[in-house]
């Protein structure tokens, strides 16, 4: 009998503990939420006390492609500035633009210009575009394709469905299987800008689509006569990278714009970022990141670029 009352009592106890923990948890939410903002606001006043002269917290959200680089850079940055907490999150370029435009984060990572993601391009003017590196991309084919080199026009004819057999492009008699990227992906936007330009793809041409780069490589490697496009960092021995107009898909050719299929990686901030954010962006552009990390993650340093390109695609020499 005493055992029974014990178990009852212990049950009530458990219930009470649960309830109180929940209550505490909720208080905790409010508490830590406000603490985090107070840390932010006290960042500048605190800075003299901090050994690294800098404190605060920075959150970067957006492009999953850029995430590895920013994460690695953030880690190094935090070692040098122990007072700053940099949190890097994925979620996609659209999420990055959404959250930076709403002011809920300090940095929005994007694979494409914010102008192309927003309904009203003027909204992009409220953001500061920090181009931190360049991504080069190019066509890859199944290794059984005998063609090594295509002109931009030939590429265009493939991706608009005009040419459907490799023999028309100097290869063997084999059907071309086009694997496109999903609508909305930054890779597709870049490729279509560079290769198709203003040319419309006819409605009747509906190639396969695939979203993730890893899967695209796997599909091209396993499908005879397949062609698709990926960033240089996804090039491997299971597929064959094509030259375009005789130009090799190499870093130095991107830097001179001889290889035209490339895009900036952007880290958008507000037009007046706080000190910690500014310091982190500066760090992204410093040699610590540009020289080593950028190349390790398969990107091309922005510092090496000999040309610049604006949101409308106009290229000028530096």
């Amino acid at each position: 009998m005493s055992g029974h009352s014990m178990s009852r009592r212990s049950f009530v106890l458990v219930g009470a503990t649960l309830a109180s923990t929940l209550g505490l948890g909720l208080v905790g939410c409010g508490g830590s939420g406000s603490t985090s903002t107070s840390t932010d606001s006290s960042a500048s006043s605190d800075s003299s006390a901090s050994s690294a002269n800098l404190s605060g917290s920075v959150t970067a959200v957006g492009s999953t492609a850029l995430q590895p680089l920013v994460e690695a850079a953030a880690e190094q940055f935090m070692e040098k500035n122990p007072g700053v907490q940099v949190t890097v999150q994925g979620g996609g370029s659209g999420q990055g633009i959404t959250q930076i435009a709403a002011g809920s984060v300090q940095i929005g990572d994007s694979d494409v210009f914010a102008e192309s993601k927003l309904d009203n391009p003027d909204d992009a003017k409220k953001l500061k575009d920090n181009q931190v590196c360049v991504v080069g991309m190019g066509p890859i084919v199944n290794p059984d394709v005998t063609v090594d080199d295509l002109t931009l026009d030939q590429l265009k004819s493939i991706f608009t469905g005009e040419v459907t057999n490799w023999k028309d492009l100097g290869g063997s008699d084999e059907d071309i299987t086009v694997i496109n990227r999903a609508s909305g992906s930054g890779t597709r936007a870049t490729f279509e800008d560079a290769v198709l330009g203003d040319t419309k793809v006819p409605d009747s041409f509906k190639p396969q689509e695939q979203d993730s780069s890893g899967t695209v490589v796997k599909m091209v490697a396993s499908t005879k006569g397949a062609i698709s496009y990926v960033a240089f960092s996804y090039y491997d021995e299971t597929t064959k990278a094509l030259k375009v107009g005789g130009v090799e898909p190499k870093e130095e050719n991107v830097e001179t714009n001889d290889w035209t299929i490339w895009a900036y990686e952007h880290m958008y901030t507000s037009t007046s970022p706080d000190d910690a954010t500014k310091a982190f962006i500066d760090y992204m552009l410093s040699d610590d990141v540009q020289g080593s990390l950028v190349e390790q993650t398969g990107y091309i340093p922005i510092t090496g670029m000999k040309v610049t390109r604006d949101a409308d695609g106009n290229v000028t020499n530096k």
């Binding site: 029974h4 917290s57 959150t59 949190t87 979203d211 890893g214 993650t297």
Partner: protein, 310 residues
């Protein structure tokens, strides 16, 4: 039907045919069950075997994931999965218990109860991705909490409530009516009868059900990719500043779980040892789920023994 056949021999022919049919049918049914069991064992075996090398590697279990180099671990993900689970249970258990008690004990007949039942049923059949997107809209963007543990825990709560309510409801309903009636006859209010008699009596079934549902929460990914986020900042267990992203207990930091990690590296991962990492993560996840299952049964039985041993 046998009567239509000729008198002798015919009957036994038909009987024979029917018997044979019966045997064949039993054989086919047995084969189906065997096939399902084989498939189950094959799936679990495949996961465990292909990931065993990583899953029992202490370094893999404790170190942080790498974004582009080989040799990353799943330490933060492992912690995040458990922390999210605990938070989710802390929030969803009281609510589910209350809702289940309302439905079994109070539930006035009429529109209120019907609406409540329909709502819970609706919630249980909603795709988890839709629940996750709603969570993103309300908690991540609306409340401004960003991709965070609290957003994830609240989204998981929505996913978990219908499961828990059903489990607790069934457990309460399984308690013999006499117990409740006896309690009421002693002058206890319905609330007292529920708290002191019904819930303790239903405890074994409730505990088993809650732990089993914990397994579902533990492996859920679709509701989390846009709420708790797809990144796992390195954790520092000496950091007790609740506002710091590296403080493990901070509920406003983003937290990728094991399940989300598997999905993310398989769709956009660039680490060279991707296959090994995802197999290892899956094996760890599977081992945890198996443990939940074993634990659920042991705990249920233990409580039952304590209750009946009095």
């Amino acid at each position: 039907m046998a009567s239509e056949e000729s008198r002798d021999g015919g009957i036994s022919d038909v009987t024979k045919r029917l018997r044979a049919e019966d045997h064949v049918a039993t054989g086919v049914l047995t084969a189906i069950v065997v096939a399902i069991l084989v498939a189950l064992v094959a799936v679990i075996g495949y996961i465990l075997v292909s990931g065993a090398g990583k899953a029992f590697d202490l370094h893999f279990l404790t170190s942080k994931p790498e974004s582009f180099k080989a040799g990353g671990g799943i330490g933060p993900e492992l912690f995040n999965s458990f922390y999210l689970l605990v938070l989710t249970l802390l929030i969803s258990l009281p609510i589910s218990l209350g809702a289940a008690i309302f439905l079994t004990q109070y539930a006035p007949e009429g529109p209120v109860t019907n609406i409540a039942k329909t709502a819970i049923e609706t919630l249980s059949s909603l795709p988890s991705i839709v629940v996750g997107l709603f969570g993103m809209l309300i908690f991540v963007l609306g409340a401004g909490w960003g991709f965070s543990i609290i957003s994830g825990a609240l989204a998981l709560t929505m996913f978990n409530i219908p499961i828990l309510v059903r489990v607790i409801q069934q457990a309460l309903e399984a308690v013999p009516r006499d117990q409740r009636d006896a309690a009421l006859a002693l002058g206890l209010t319905r609330w007292e009868a529920t708290v002191h008699v019904l819930v303790p009596a239903a405890m074994p079934a409730i505990v088993t059900g809650v732990i089993l549902s914990a397994g579902r929460v533990f492996g859920e990914a679709a509701a989390l990719i846009y709420t708790a986020g797809q990144s796992a900042p390195a954790l520092d267990f000496t950091n007790l500043n609740l506002a710091s992203p590296s403080c493990p207990w901070n509920i406003f930091r983003p937290a990728e779980t094991l399940a989300v990690h598997i999905w993310k590296i398989n769709s956009e991962g660039v680490v060279p040892d991707l296959a090994a990492v995802s197999a290892g993560t899956a094996a760890v996840l599977m081992i945890c789920i198996l443990l939940f299952n074993v634990l659920a049964r042991i705990a249920g039985r233990a409580i039952e023994r304590r209750l009946t041993a009095e």
